[in-house]
């Protein structure tokens, strides 16, 4: 395609930043890369860039294949995506920042694709038999997944949907116990910590939302929060499905399987959706799956979505606002496709074709 601009993630200074997945995919596709270093880790970015420069020198690759730009407020990113030589953009970050850059890319004289991964709340649906048989275990597992890395994962499961009743109570108690045993964690940046506090306040202020636990946050230190809300109240308040980046969980207590399906219909695009199910939950799962397939890039059963594997079958993308480009993934081997363009050769003499053909 030509040069690709990469905006790395704040939460992955190595795996998804200067030399991360987007950079690897673009270079593998034969596109030079210009990385906008994330302001959360300029030093790490610089060290990684020096390592890349050393590799370029050692291998004799043209030095123009890689550049790092750092600093600035929004102006640097804005100018980068508007530069006429930039042909595509890979971005990992917030919905607000991503949408602003997406709009700039679409408004160019020559529009270019913006592959933005903007996060999601990754709902888990706990079906009745699984809740009865393993509610406590699932609740404890959720607490671990929700607080991994202080909840600073795109695939953090922020919402658990379960039918109200004693099984939901047991699940909630287990989650609360799990979350209570987590030590205070330090968030990656002041900005993330401040946004987390705002998110906690927003959720706490929702109609019908009860706080189960949460002891406050100070400076960069975050404590986990757990809230509960009825299915009716959740459905009535769109803001309760907005991502809170950090260790915050909401238990949505629905009336019945029907209302669980209503939730599945109401959710926006997600990176992941998870089902917890037992053998006898299969009819309920069969009704839910066609709804969830429409909403997510990755569907899981009886596990937790935090963490991904870089493999052929991975999809780390999903309908908007999880990502801006539903056919694309930023993790896994399919990620190279974002930066490739098909060309058809008709009657070209074979000695003029690209070597690989």
């Amino acid at each position: 395609l030509g040069p690709v601009a990469v905006f790395g993630a704040s939460n992955f200074p190595l795996a998804f930043s200067v030399a991360g997945g987007d950079t690897a995919a673009a270079l593998a596709a034969g596109c030079p890369v210009v990385v906008k270093g994330h302001s959360a880790h300029p030093g790490t970015g610089e060290i990684v860039a020096q390592a890349i420069d050393a590799a370029i020198k050692a291998t004799g690759v043209h030095p123009g294949v890689f550049s790092l730009v750092q600093g600035g407020k929004r102006d640097i990113g804005t100018r980068l995506v508007q530069h006429p030589l930039i042909r595509a953009v890979g971005f990992t970050g917030s919905l607000g920042g991503g949408r602003a850059l997406f709009d700039l890319c679409a408004q160019r004289d020559e529009p270019i694709p913006f592959f933005g991964e903007l996060g999601s709340v990754n709902p888990m649906f706990i079906l009745p038999r699984a809740a009865a048989a393993r509610g406590v275990e699932i609740g404890a597992g959720w607490a671990t997944s929700l607080t991994m890395g202080a909840g600073q994962f795109c695939t953090n499961p922020g919402i658990a949907v379960i039918i109200a009743g004693p099984d939901a109570d047991a699940f909630q108690s287990a989650a609360e116990a799990g979350l209570s045993s987590v030590d205070d964690q330090t968030m990656l940046t002041d900005g993330i910590a401040a946004a987390y506090r705002d998110g906690v306040s927003r959720v706490a202020a929702g109609t019908g939302v009860s706080k189960v636990m949460g002891t406050g946050c100070d400076g960069r230190v975050s404590a986990p929060y757990l809230f509960t809300v009825s299915g009716d109240d959740w459905l009535a308040d769109h803001k309760l499905q907005e991502e809170v980046f950090g260790p915050l969980g909401i238990i949505v207590r629905v009336k019945d399987i029907e209302q669980m399906q209503q939730i599945a219909r109401a959710i926006e695009g997600q990176l992941t959706c998870t089902l917890h199910l037992d053998e006898d939950d299969k009819p309920a799962a069969q009704a839910l799956l066609p709804l969830l397939e429409r909403k997510a890039g990755r569907l899981l059963a009886n596990s937790f979505p935090t963490g991904v594997e870089v493999c052929d079958s991975m999809v780390h993308g999903g309908p908007y606002p999880a990502s801006t480009n539903f056919g694309a993934t930023s993790v896994g081997t399919l990620s190279i496709r974002r930066f490739l363009r098909p060309v058809c050769y008709q009657d070209i003499p074979s000695d003029l074709l690209p070597e690989k053909l």
Copy 2:
């Protein structure tokens, strides 16, 4: 994905309209289709829609999989691409109309992909040995390709680049003779005929442009036009590379192979680029190909781009403004990809997976 909106082409009432390639690709991907019928052929559109309805009844498919809307000015198309249930758009038409709809799609609360095929001038590069050996033959072939269907093809080769000199003169004479032998042709609509007349005037008014032939157009009847211009003048006037939809050819007489490469660097995104070359032209072709690969969806040697085959290797797309989505094709089996989204199933019990897995 969900419902797809299809805007068919004015110039292909059957192959690329109500039941054309976009509709077939979307239905094959499992997406219901809403076609905006083209105002150039409402009756044909209606008859085709009735045939589809009959097929739906005969096969017991849900009638919601297909709808045709007709009439209106721009308002119907605008509302269609803004409808929250529409998930993607396939469009074949003008750069102006396509860009307007693209912008609406990108500005939605939930942006959706717009797969627009907006046409191009499909330049041909005639290398020196081929010009010397077969200039007359290529000129005659060009005249045939340029006037096929009164030039109303997206892949119509509107520009021929050749090194100035006696071989270019011979090529030009042959093209002129070929074009002169074409009878008057009737264009598909009054609008296309009027736009063609405007295009003729625009090219004729270009600095350094000489008219070789062209006897005027009246009402819907179009006559072929042939112009010639130097490489310097063409490079100085960006408007000379804008598409004129109809049987109009421009011969760009360049100084040398270097200037031919300059032209290749200067052209915008194209559906096709064509090389005419002989054995001894290969070094020149090797220098041109890497430039042209960046600019087109389909590269041809020693043939003419008008007409496409629906096959696995076809690419009917290219960098903007040839199309709005460089990774996509509207013709060929790859066209289904536009309307598919990858989903990753992790640990889902095998009896819950989609049947095809």
